[in-house]
Amino acid sequence: MSDDIVLDVHDLHTHFFLRRGVVKAVDGVSFSLRRGEVLGLVGESGCGKSVTALSLLRLLPKGAARTVQGEIELEGEDILKTSDREMRQIRGRKIAMILQDPQTSLNPVFSIGNQLRETIAKHFPGPGGTVTQRAIEALRNVRLAAPEQRMDQYPHQLSGGMKQRVVGAIAISCEPLVMIADEPTTALDVTIQLQYLNLLKELQEASNMAILFITHDFGVVAKMCDHVAVMYAGRIVERGPVRQVFDNPTHPYTQALIASVPKMGDQRGRLHTIEGQPPEFSDLPVGCRFAPRCAFVEDKCLSTYPTDFSVGNGHTSACWKLEKPE
């Protein structure tokens, strides 16, 4: 079973070193991803989910941020210890990424074909003809009509949804083990989002790659993911199989987050709210980071950060109210 694990992140700490102090954007995050698994990493802006993704690819802004502690094992090898050169081989080939904004993911001065061929040629060097064939195949896989003609087009000639498909084509062209999708559909319209999510799901099932799906939207998690991890202020507060977490959210933050989203079935009424704002990283609470906004806060929450308590079946939650009385 454990042989299936393709990506194992253990106790990851990534800090930003700013003029006004150190920001612990990722503060002890652990998770693992099995072959063919889709893990949703959910949280609000600033919770550290995107920094986690950048840490995995070692694409943090140089000088400003650094992973100071932890291991990222890709097929058993710690990629934090590999050289920059080896890392370039890993990126794209073993871990691919789709970002939120298709406008900035593609280079406007190169044709679609150029950008695809560049990635493919780097990881599968071969005669130009085969590279081109592979590129066209990748475009066909993301269901772009007339892929041969698309090769010569430039990003500005495509719509947002089509651009994001091209980004997807580049990401899957080298058959990565792990795909990191950072809010890939946030910039898309709802009907296009549905097309894109269905496409990702199909590609994932066909290739059995693992996806780390970063999102703020529980709907995306419900549709796409097998497992979910909820992040708050740099740490994972709850994780587990998707159905279990939706049926029985145990962390007060997860509960409140799910309850605060308007549902299609609801009539006009008041929404459940979480008062206040997420804490500033420069001024984190001593104990549980959600305690200042939590409806069930106790003395212990204010003094000590809770450990992960198991709720069964790999479902854990970092909340003191789950501590079993001795």
Partner: protein, 325 residues
Amino acid sequence: MTEPLLRVENLRKYFAHTKGILAAKNMGQVKAVDDINFTIATGETLGLVGESGCGKTTTSKLILHLENPTSGKVLLQGKPIHGMEREALRDYRADVQAVFQDPWSSLNPRMTIGKIISESLTVTKWGKRAEIEERVRDLLIEVGLRPEHAQQYPHEFSGGQRQRIALASALASKPKLIVLDEPVSALDVSIRAQILNLLKDIQERENVAYLLIAHNLATVRHMAHQTAVMYLGQIVEYAPTKSLFDDVQHPYTKALFSAVLPDHPDLQNDEIVLAGEVPSPLDPPSGCRFHTRCPFVMPECSQEEPPLRETKPGHLVACHLYPTA
């Protein structure tokens, strides 16, 4: 029937599409808004739903008198708003206000919160300085902020707080209608509910009407009394929110509904996945504009444009599938 607060009649807005650097060549017209009609009643919310490029933002600009229509009218309490005298326009400005999507762009970084909120009062010489300060204080409390915030600058506030400030400045002149253009979509999930609840509380207290432009159907369901669905510059379905959500009729609305992501992993929708993308508004399809993507397309759809017809009391649909009730 009594005159509604706001009435939009046969409103059209075409933009000339030009190309070329030296001599601008006219390449045709973008029909951003093409013959739409709706009304908003006092104290009620109309939800306007659609994808990008459907014309909902242009509609809001026309209502806010930021653009002039190509033809058609917007009437506030029976009076057409375009081509008004200066005085009348000033009154209109006080009656119709707006909150936009991006809280980072809607507050002038060089003005204090107090100045921002009181701007509409200052320009209309609403009262003495002390009275205006008093009003700002009340508004800050009303939107859930503290009076001392008036001295601070926008950069000291988070997105949710900024949206509260934007709302306070919209409320300052006691408007009858506020255009809410995607008011929560730029905010974090846990903050959205706070703002939506606040909007509802204010509507109850002040009896203000909202035009809520949104792409999130659940938000519209939660907030709106009436809902209109736009596609390529036209309204395709327009009904009381409950009627619309209980009995979706237009195929495009159906597709929008099935694109809503499930609340729970077990609730996978029967999906109508639309093929392709929205056609260019520069060259909209003939007949029904949706026929190129419609799963129920019939021969007449490409020939004849379906009129907006009442299929049930108050429920209007523009589709050949639904003959008049």
